[in-house]
């Protein structure tokens, strides 16, 4: 397996290189490069402009520029400087990452907490009203636009429903904490509820359907019949024997879907003013801050490659029947 992991990692490198070259070209092609402001400024002399160009290495051949950028990006952790804020992009992104990770992990916890029991129950009672409801919900979950769900949640839980004791909105409409109040965990969790629900709703439905179908297969296995024959409770059969095995493919699927959850977070952060990476990306796109855009896209691409690899390897670890050749 180590050789397999190594080979897969090596295969991923050219793909990331292609992507990085494309991104580099995009940023190069973009109008309003690093010198745009200086070029427009009448007080900047031609000589100063030339010196600036020299300092930024813009007079070198394009492949030399790309090579330098790549080495800086990948090895030195230097992701360039934001055009708008004149700050290192790496600092800006690192500031925002914790908020995004918090949101994404909360969504994952909610997905599993709801999807696993729902899928197991639906599989144990196929074609019951519960199963049919779940099927309908899974179609709805697949079809609902995340950002609209966010808006509707705000409408219901911030505007329409009020806390009967205080008359305040039931849940806040945005941000990570109440303005002016002390930061505490409870307040943070309270702000986390709606964004988490908006982000995970589609996946809950999808995963419970997925789990249902793998449970249906497993419930026909001999060891399940054995379990029942020796008098185990239905609960033990379902959750201890069957669900554990049905979860295997789900684990890989979670790993493969993680990057998609990050793009979902882009919308959710935007609606709920959640100060994460997605919000940063959107602001940067509006301000045409290309170095920031480039870095965020690159990070997400690396995430996708890494999690594809992770999913492959994890599957082998969890299921000894899988062989790598």
């Amino acid at each position: 397996m180590p050789t397999y992991a190594l080979r897969r990692t090596l295969q991923a490198i050219p793909i990331l290189l292609i992507l990085s070259a494309v991104l580099f070209a995009i940023v190069k092609a973009a109008p309003g490069g690093p010198l745009a402001a200086a070029e427009r400024n009448p007080n900047v002399t031609a000589e100063q402009l030339a010196r600036l160009r020299d300092r930024l290495g813009l007079d070198q051949p394009i492949y030399v520029q790309y090579g330098k950028w790549l080495v800086n990006f990948a090895l030195a952790g230097d992701w360039g400087e934001s055009i708008k804020f004149r700050r290192p992009v790496s600092d800006m992104i690192l500031e925002r990452l914790p908020a995004t990770f918090l949101l994404v992990s909360a969504a994952f916890v909610l997905m599993l907490a709801l999807a696993v029991p729902a899928g197991v129950i639906a599989a144990s009672r196929p074609y019951s009203w519960f199963d049919h409801t779940l099927t309908t919900l899974s179609f709805a979950g697949q079809s609902v636009p995340t950002f609209w769900l966010g808006l509707i949640l705000i409408l219901i839980f911030y505007i329409w429903l009020k806390n009967p004791f205080t008359g305040e909105p039931l849940f806040p409409a945005g941000g990570m904490g109440t303005l002016g109040a002390d930061r505490n965990l409870l307040d943070l969790l309270w702000h986390l509820v709606l964004p988490t629900v908006a982000l995970s709703a589609g996946y809950v439905a999808w995963y419970s359907r997925f789990l249902r179908s793998s449970m249906r297969d497993i419930l026909n296995e001999d060891y399940v019949r054995t379990g029942r024959a020796k008098g185990l409770s239905e609960r033990a059969v379902l959750f201890k024997h069957a669900a554990r095995n049905a979860l295997l493919p789900l684990v890989t699927m979670l790993a493969l879907d993680l990057p998609a959850v990050f793009s979902g977070a882009l919308f959710v952060e935007n609606i709920f003013s959640w100060p994460g990476m997605g919000r940063l990306f959107w602001d940067a796109a509006r301000g045409r801050d290309y170095p920031v855009l480039q870095a965020v896209v690159m990070i997400n691409a690396v995430l996708i490659v890494a999690f594809n690899l992770f999913a492959d390897l994890l599957y082998g670890l969890l299921d000894p029947r899988v062989r790598y050749d």
């Binding site: 092609a29 309003g32 079809s143 636009p145 609209w148 249906r216 896209v297």
Partner: protein, 308 residues
């Protein structure tokens, strides 16, 4: 599957699917009640969008006096922040959103089928190169790249790129063909070894004729089902992009960009948030159900009720 496929093999060219088979598919599709209902809803929505000229209101006529009016007899679905009739905007926006969904799906299917069929049929290094290319596209974080590209295209000094509808169609199509390509490649890999393909080759048919006339007609079903999934994805993606301000540009209405100002006015005008999103949701759901019905319709072995 074998019999059905072999039977219709002698048919060539345009009329690849004989009437009898279409009828069978329809009969099985019709048993999926939700799929039929979805088809009716979708056709109804398309009709409503096309009926836009019947609406007396101009979707772009601003009337600040009438801004943010609640639904009433005059304005059935209310007005937006510039006093424009929401129903009229939704109808014209529907034309845009539905055509973007449909056309970008067509583009996706054409690119994906071409790449998948070429890879699967020729194999060898061609397949290798095409599949690595597909893998590379699959690592693109699609939403982020979509936004990056549309942000960039707006800045380039070419006026034709300002036509945001065309740009959005092309960009969505160009970034979502990979699943179709993988699907078609897999199908072609199996089909190219079948006797009828070998027979066609023995008769001296050209590669193009074999692929277009013999192999692809047999892939039509799975491609169609894939197309419905893609269409739902495309409608949601377009609206998401437009909502973020990187899709269809105002004043041209689309269901997504009507939602753009909805959050700002959500206290005074919740209908601005509810209606456009509900339409996107309805279309995506209808298309997904139609895909489910098609899957049933195209699967001759399916016995309904014994599924799963």
């Amino acid at each position: 599957m074998t019999d059905a496929v072999l039977e219709r093999e002698p048919v060539q060219g345009g009329a690849a699917v004989p009437e009898g088979m279409l009828r069978q598919v329809w009969r099985r599709f019709a048993r999926h009640r939700l799929a039929v209902a979805s088809l009716v809803i979708l056709v109804g929505l398309i009709g409503a969008a096309l009926a836009a000229p019947l609406n007396p209101y101009d979707p772009n006529a601003q009337a600040p006096v009438d801004k943010l009016q609640a639904p009433s007899a005059e304005h059935w679905l209310g007005t937006d922040s510039r006093g424009r009739d929401l129903l009229a905007r939704l109808q014209y926006g529907g034309q845009i959103s539905l055509s973007v969904g449909l056309l970008s799906t067509l583009l996706t299917l054409v690119i994906g089928t071409a790449i998948g069929a070429a890879g699967g049929y020729y194999g060898g290094w061609i397949d290798n190169v095409l599949m690595r290319f597909t893998d590379a596209f699959l690592t693109f974080p699609t939403t982020f790249v979509l936004i990056l590209i549309s942000a960039l295209l707006r800045e380039l000094p070419y006026p034709q790129l300002k036509n945001s509808v065309l740009v959005v169609i092309i960009v969505i199509g160009a970034l979502s063909w990979m699943y179709t390509a993988r699907l078609v490649r897999g199908l072609v890999l199996v089909l190219r070894e079948r006797d009828f393909v070998i027979a066609a080759r023995a008769l001296g048919a050209s590669d193009a004729r074999i692929i277009l006339g013999h192999i692809l007609p047999n892939c039509l079903g799975p491609i169609l089902v894939n197309g419905t999934l893609q269409m739902a994805f495309a409608v949601i993606t377009e609206s998401g992009l437009s909502y973020l301000g990187f899709g269809i540009q105002p004043p041209t209405a689309s269901w997504g960009n009507i939602l753009e100002e909805a959050q700002q006015h959500i206290f005074r005008a919740p209908w601005l948030a509810i209606f456009p999103g509900a339409l996107i949701f309805l279309v995506a759901m209808a298309v997904n159900y139609i895909g489910d019905g098609l899957r049933d319709g195209l699967d001759p072995y399916l016995v309904r009720g014994a599924k799963g």
